[in-house]
Symmetry: C2
Subunit: 93 residues, 2 copies
DNA sequence: GGCGGCGATACCGAAACGGTATTGGCGATC
DNA sequence: GATCGCCAATACCGTTTCGGTATCGCCGCC
């Protein structure tokens, strides 16, 4: 499981379409399809139901979505705070 | 920033040696050195102080360590709960 | 039954990654 | 203060991963 996979997953979940999610992520559709599939393979659980009108989250996908957002938020926060010179941890000289 | 980078960072921070961390992660030393450096480059902040006796966390590294552990924990938890059939979210059919 | 839009696949070129071998540099030792 | 040893950093190369273009197959809609 990688952050790219999680980011892709959230985008597809929100767009409910691989194609639209791909446009939003500025990649083409095939890589995104592969990322989702590799994520499902890795977890051993299908996350979406595919249909001719798009992608619909399955229960496992709903559960993952909550975690994925939390993880991506934590990453963004880490990214911000590391640069911030206002240290949270004092350094004993 | 990738999960592999964060995992590598935590390992190096805990071991205080790239070599030992590499052994623990079952990779050789050079890739680990590169992961740390690419992470520093990406964040634009040095995370370790290098010396002839190993690596020592700098303040920015101390801050990142807290976040990195939280992120990796969240990933592990997501990994677990997604498989778990005991759904947390009901599905409105 | 034909058309349009969707995701899945095949294929190929480029980029990322890991390993082995080597270098460079600081610290401890005598 | 020269030498040896341990550490991270770099060079180089083979492999693998990844993304893009082109295409396929399928279902819903008109």
């Amino acid at each position: 499981m990688s952050l790219v996979q999680l980011e892709s997953f959230v985008a597809v979940a929100e767009a409910a379409h691989v194609g639209r999610a791909a446009a939003r992520l500025r990649v083409s559709q095939p890589p995104l399809t592969r990322r989702i599939r590799s994520l499902e393979d890795e977890l051993g659980v299908p996350l979406f139901e595919r249909s001719a009108r798009g992608m619909r989250l399955l229960p496992a996908g709903e559960r993952l979505l909550v975690h994925a957002r939390r993880i991506l938020d934590a990453v963004a926060q880490a990214h911000d705070e590391v640069r911030r010179p206002g240290a949270a941890l004092p350094e004993p000289e």
